[in-house]
């Protein structure tokens, strides 16, 4: 049995375990659910170390080649270099400052020094807020601008028709969410109701799309069972 065989075998068993929830809640499902969370957390940690913390930070600070972790053992045995041939750059030591600052987050686990973590958190909130502010303008301003559509496009009936529906929907839905006055006045009441109906149609579209997505996920798993797992499993018999 190769590693690949075992990978496919456990892939199938894991899938069955998770889908067993459809029958009813059971310990088989629970075990694999917890395994999944544990594996995902562990994998995230290892990959972060391997792909970022080592090559981007530690390898530079300790002057090791960024290829160290990727060098196959047989090449290392043949004398492949594990130290960089590039001259050492002492300025990389400055990386220790943001590293130490970031590690301050872990003081949250101590009563005495927990205040240090608040500085780190406030810094994260500050840059997060700034990025969100910039991101908002970059993302939504073009959408707001594109919502000002001409209702009549000469010589193009369908674009005019589409634009009219778009603007009508936009106005009705905005009126529905405008709570500064009662929606009992003529015109406003009808527009608000129309806004609600139009949103219902939109939610229907979302729900339909959700069904399609969920079915796709199931199809992929079934395909895995038919094309990989069953032929793999049948080797045993």
């Amino acid at each position: 049995m190769t590693v690949e065989w075992w990978t496919i075998f456990f892939g199938g068993i894991s899938t069955l375990a998770i889908y067993s929830f459809l029958y009813k809640e059971n310990p088989f499902y629970r075990v694999f659910e917890h395994m999944y969370i544990g594996i995902a957390t562990g994998l995230g940690l290892v990959i972060s170390l391997e792909r970022f913390i080592w090559p981007q930070l530690l390898a530079k600070i300790f002057h090791a080649s960024p290829q160290v972790y990727a060098t196959p053992p047989q090449l290392v045995a043949q004398g492949a270099p594990l130290t960089s041939t590039v001259p050492y750059e002492p300025l990389y030591l400055l990386y220790l400052i943001p590293m130490a600052f970031g590690l301050g987050y872990y003081t949250i686990y101590t009563k005495r020094y927990a205040w240090v973590s608040r500085i780190v958190i406030s810094f994260a909130l500050g840059y997060g807020g700034g990025l969100a502010f910039k991101g908002f303008f970059a993302e939504y301003i073009p959408q707001i601008v594109s919502s000002f559509k001409p209702l009549y496009v000469p010589g193009d009936f369908w674009t005019s028709f589409n634009n009219t529906i778009f603007v009508f929907t936009l106005v009705c839905v905005m009126i529905y969410f405008f709570f500064s006055f009662e929606h009992d006045k003529p015109g406003i009441k009808q527009a608000s109701t129309a806004g609600r109906w139009l949103m219902m149609i939109s939610f229907g579209a979302f729900f339909g799309a959700t069904i399609m997505a969920r079915m796709s996920l199931l199809i992929e798993r079934l395909q895995f069972f038919i094309e990989d797992w069953l032929p793999n499993f049948s080797v045993l018999f």
């Binding site: 459809l22 840059y127 990025l131 993302e139 601008v145 997505a213 796709s216 079934l222």
Partner: protein, 308 residues
Amino acid sequence: MEHPENKGFYEFLLSIDRRVVYVLVLIALIVPLLVEKGMQPAKMTTAQMAYDAVEKLPTDTGKMVWIAMDWGPATQAENMPQTSVFMEHLMRRKILFCTYSISFSSEPFMKSVPNEVANSMNKKNEESGDPYRYEYGKDWVNIGFRPAAVLFVRGLGKTEDVREYLSVDARGTPMTEIPCMKNIKTIEDFIMLAEFTGWVGAFNIWVQFFQTKDYKPIFVHGCTSITIPEAFIYLDSKQIHGLFEGVAGAAYYSKLIKGDEFDPVNNPDLATKFMMSLSMAHILIFFFILVGNIGLWWGKLAEKGGPS
């Protein structure tokens, strides 16, 4: 006054165990997979837009397409066929590309998907006598996963030396030693951004930060079916220039790039096989909705004293 004796059909529907529905859905999905037949995909204007955008890209300039593979096993079903056909199109046109992800769960796919596409293309070239062979480093590079997604993308837009900024690829090879990265200096050397995801928030990062004051990329997006309605907002505002609508988008794109080679009935690929099963499931669900509504209507009629 209620007439429960007339509500037989309605009550029968209510009494059906949900597991019976699951089994019926399972049968509808599994039968098309067993018969190994695909179906002609429906025309998708949005996939056509994505195809046209790639067709307009210049070749032999040493510039590159940035592919953000922000998906993992959870949305593999839809995002993998999309990414796969998109890479095939780039390879057919000999346009360089790099792969990157904001999530570690994409790591295995960033290695396997381009490799599988390249192997398949190399096999075809071998059969047709074309001496060209697609190779890692020459035709594409895998940047891999990097943490701090927003900060990373923001930094990419700011840097004046992308190779220095990225430092090494996922194999640990310095970017300066990778041939296809030779002409890449700034973010403006990426002639297109293609982002495939099913995760909330991932797509927005690219819309917001993969740009500078003077540069906005040609942007193609592959989304899962759930986010199709949302993606149309970005298409309408021209923030994206093409869209893969779930697996259906991938199937139609596959038809566009393969042309006469495309034979979904006798030789279905990943996306077209999916479509057959998906269509069967949709017909079944449509049937369930119809029967459920008739049952409800029947029950209401019974409450009012009919049907007799």
